[in-house]
Symmetry: D2
Subunit: 403 residues, 4 copies
């Protein structure tokens, strides 16, 4: 016990020579071997007998994997906090903009009206699914790795299981049914969940960057003055949070593929695949963590411009509402006739540039059933939002963080 305390007292990062570790790792093949050597020397300088127990019964992979799991645990705690922050910010945007009409766009073309609240409700719904995924993944993934050279704890003799259990308690990590050195599915599990989360962050960044284009001007990134600005181009507000998120979302797919490919490793400790994880997992966690943190910032400080959204809705002079007028005329004219009148009106408005409502009001057949006020109401996007309010209510109910 005294010896254990001596060893523990030497396990201080300040006592280690990091540069020497890096150098020695190249010829040792991993970081654990030179670390154990340095630690053993440190302990031996205090108590030669104690130095015999350094790294006793463990193998390099026990150290490397368990250390990674501890880092993952810490990182996931931060990521969950940022995810919750993003969820709260998304909720606020949903509530504030549940009725802020904007254009829904498909294939990068204007389609039909939606509200910005509905768009954010989709985001909120997805973020809540990721919250569940992270939570379920933590339970599967954050466990001790301790098995000795071949995963049997043989060098610890009969004491192996008790030492393993004590180590698990000490690190506050659950003990798995058996050491998992050769099976990397837990790493891929974590990588996959984080890559999925980053892809959703990227989706939001993509949409907001498209909405922030100079010609669209529906949102802008907020934050400190000067952020993303340019001294020579005052009209420019570079979406640098969106860029950071998208840069992460461009890189996580390749990293998750790398970690998947490390799965089919050789026997009880792989050659190449496991070693590839050493760089890929930390990179992926850093990028994902950065993306979700930037996403929370982006949503919290987003500048929403309803007037820009209204201007986009007006781009086609009401043509995107033709479907609504057609459905109002159908009971009186018959669906087919209604469809033909509307097609003609749309063609004329597009060709001549005359406002759609003027063309409609000038059509005697249409005018016989709908006066100008009725037409104005029909081509008001706010009247053609279908189940938007219901969908928003459902998502708000499902995603309450206290639920």
């Amino acid at each position: 016990v005294a010896q254990a305390e001596t060893i523990a007292a030497c396990c201080m990062v300040e006592l280690m020579d990091s540069a020497a570790l890096s150098e020695a790792a190249a010829s040792a093949g991993n970081l654990a071997i030179p670390l154990v050597r340095q630690l053993t020397a440190l302990v031996a300088a205090r108590d030669a007998e104690a130095s015999r127990y350094v790294h006793f019964g463990a193998t390099s992979q026990d150290i490397i994997d368990t250390a990674l799991v501890l880092q993952m645990r810490a990182a996931l705690t931060l990521i969950r906090a940022d995810l919750d922050r993003a969820i709260r910010a998304a909720r606020t945007l949903v509530v504030d903009h549940r009725a802020t009409t904007m254009v829904g766009r498909t294939w990068m073309q204007q389609a039909l009206p939606i509200t910005f609240g509905l768009k954010m409700a989709g985001t909120l719904d997805a973020l809540a699914r990721h919250r569940l995924r992270v939570s379920q993944m933590q339970a599967r993934v954050l466990v001790l790795q301790f098995g000795g050279a071949a995963g049997t704890l043989a060098s610890l003799g009969a004491a192996g299981p008790a030492i393993s259990a004590a180590l698990a308690r000490h690190l506050d990590l659950p003990e798995p049914a058996l050491p998992w050195h050769g099976h990397r599915d837990r790493m891929f599990d974590c990588a996959g969940v984080l890559a999925g989360l980053t892809a959703t962050a990227g989706k939001v960044a993509r949409d907001l960057a498209l909405m922030g284009q100079t010609e669209v001007a529906e949102v802008a990134e907020g934050g400190a003055p000067g952020r993303g600005g340019s001294s020579t181009m005052p009209h420019k507000r570079n979406p640098i949070r969106a860029a950071a998120i998208l840069a992460a979302a461009h890189q996580t797919p390749g990293l998750v593929a790398t970690i998947a490919m490390a799965g089919p490793g050789e026997h009880e400790r792989a050659l190449g695949g496991w070693q590839a994880e050493w760089r890929a997992m930390p990179e992926l966690i850093r990028l994902s963590g950065g993306a979700i943190s930037q996403l929370a910032d982006l949503l919290e400080t987003l500048e929403v411009m309803p007037e820009g959204m209204a201007a986009s809705l007006a781009t086609t002079g009401g043509l995107i509402m033709a479907e609504a007028v057609q459905m109002a005329l159908a009971p009186a004219l018959g669906r087919l006739v209604a469809h033909e009148r509307l097609e003609g009106a749309v063609r004329e408005s597009a060709a001549t540039g005359r406002p759609f409502i003027d063309v409609l009001a000038a059509d005697s057949v249409i005018a016989a059933h709908l006066d100008r006020d009725a037409l104005a109401a029909l081509i008001d996007p706010a009247h053609y939002l279908g189940a938007t309010a219901l969908f928003i209510d459902r998502v708000l109910a499902d995603t309450a963080l206290d639920a």
Copy 2:
């Protein structure tokens, strides 16, 4: 209602012209548009009025996504059945070979003894985790997509929610809080879980292929005579199941990266990313399904050769047991002296080729404490298996399929 029945009666794959569909899809941009056209023509030939209600209120993506979800549901049912089959086969191997000693290998080098049952217990444990992942994923992923052109169901007016609910009941798919066309995290969720499963299948295939090398000869793929054979090379038993599994495990990482990259799509319907899913998701499901099915076959018919495993354990003439002898001498000699004697013996045996036990028995210091029988017991791999039995028992207890 009569009109709905007319439409339903026309929804028969035999009535469709698949070749025309394929051709028209190229200029339409997706498969749903020409399908709707063909269906409308079929219905119109029977009832012109009914043809007006074909595809009413839905958009192409509703059809494509919901059809994919239905296919995923069917595929996942098959995959779960094969996964259960693989789990049962792995359990049998664990039970049958819990004490069959073999070499544990790290960095592609012999390390210490394990048992084949322990190796398979690691596989069993991983497969059980995948079973849980598939099950949790099904609950998150298998839901209806139905939102109309921009996800508001506006063209259905006030009837939208009721129609959506009826459709969900009809297809026996849960209705999500809101349409998810723009958020592809559900697709990536399924892709990630299947890629993880395939990576584990690949890990097992890799190990068994390594064990089946001509020089190692510890296992062989079973099955029908002639399978994987060669008429000119009778010593050859090509591991074709392992090859099929590894071929899948080589391809799923790239596919999962593709599907991750489709996540950050544009607005309410993406341009490029969503369309990439159309090929990538079915391929990934096919490859994963094939891999897990082949894995179940492989494990069910595996030919295990304990004598080959024993031969591998004997390759180094007992040198891999040096650690065990050293630990037996430590109490008497002191750890350091024991370590030095063993190092010398190992060097001599390796250099001269004399059996390790002979070298040990000829060392007077060692012989003073351990006679030849004691030494023979110490270098018996079966006596140096640590917590192997405990680990196996835990895994068997955790993974009972009825649990």
Copy 3:
């Protein structure tokens, strides 16, 4: 020789039972084995003696790899033709629009004026580089694979080299220095070049899709009426060629990763990696070929709308030209004073919505040096194009297809 003719006469695709081949491939492990069996049976039915020479000296991989190379040769010929077509179409756009001013955009924000000809000159320049890459790659990659079971041609005895040379002549494929079954760098070489080409096609598609957004309206995809259209939404022109290209560009990165990962295969014939190529290479070639063909179509039929480009240039009311005015005032006012006056004018114009030129003209310090006509000239984007014309001339000179 008569026997060779009998065998050749049986090598007809119409004589083969494709369904039986597919089924048998699953248990044989590859397609060549059942093909040889079917072919042997066909030959034996005509001449039992001849059937002994079927597949004589060759191995499955010789057949599979050489067949793939022949398909690659044919595909690359088609791809080069489409690439040349795209290059010609890009040249026409460069020439036609060398002076068509438009907004240059960075970080998805308006930056400074360019011309559409310059934008297309960048595309043309990149396509010409790809043309060189394809050409150099064809020379490295399109060679015979013929080595027998282990790459020595041993079973053909002394006749091996002569038969190999005759086969190469017959197929009009260069003979490599030695069989390359175990080294897959040629496959990756082709995959990489095609993936690079597809990425460039994707870049063009991305830009044109952004320019074709409803709010931007600078280009539209041309082609047959109804193509990409929607009967209910007449304002909509879905960019379906861009979608097809981007869908390919989303998938090729994952495929090229798969083929890279097949490189480190085992020994003289790999287990898993080589088999993964069987699907990945054809898919990648199909997708790349489709993308470049669609790109040529897209460029050939592109509808360019200079008035839309002019409208985008006017979006900020001239603010994007502030840099030009500042540089004209600098000699008189000093750079620093000029910069401060301009910043003030930009702020005022942005805040009040007054046209930038009015604000400038109303500034007494500025007005003292530049009258309204001079200011109007300075904020004319056509006067601030730098080396655009020179760059275009250089690219046109470098990329003449006859050069």
Copy 4:
């Protein structure tokens, strides 16, 4: 000119505050902006007038891309040197072991004899192809990027082209036809060539690691004593160079996919894709450079064990030579009868464990045509090497580094 000298004098890495740069980059969106700020402050402290010319006419991307190209140039010089070193080492192995027989293996099973020289000749041939690829790629890729904010050099007025040419001369980089900021094919070109090279390094590492397995023992990694060793397991020689190479080869596919996906970027400066290159390109270059350097070391110091190769050839007791005996009997017995006799002999030897030559010699039909000496010669692997010597000569002729 004096001002330029003042600026140049401040461009010293020692004068910069790296920590402040890192921090500022996060809110600026890239590294160039804070670098320009620091540099401007440094210059201003010496000469306020000179500080006005810092970064004059350039944009952030000019700095970032050109700096990356300069780093790529330096890295490729190192990589070519290591590649040449690997080529020389491979040539030596080819020459030294042109007649060292070993087992050729397919599907991870013993197939037919080859020589280690032939195996290395395949490697040498592939490395020479990569040498050509690197060389052709350098010519396409290593060029200046200088275009100003939107790629027109407008802010430099008429002086733009002359300044660009002078900069190119100063940096000794060719000037491209036009700025290439928006087209990233040059980056992918370099990434692809390096990933291909790394995959080949991985292939060699894979083969040597398989040959170095404890049970196979045909090669071992050389180098300093203790390298890759283990104090407790003296039989263990971990292939740590192979592990490092394979770890790189596992990661480059994902990175090359990331860089491919950055290709389809937005307009004149992308959002997300370009920023992803900042990390991915350096990582890929580092990993590739490390892999090729390790490969050269591995080949230069490889310990080849011909006796281990001979032992592997003997594993099946001659069964892998059955094809050779059969072909010797065919002229006398007829091919079919010969085949049947051999099949019987193979089955008997495999079933009883009797040496294959004894079984053959005891078969009266065979013995009538081939005496024991003749049989011994036939089952000598050295006599069944086909065109091995010719293939080796060709590769040696093609790959002479002075050629």
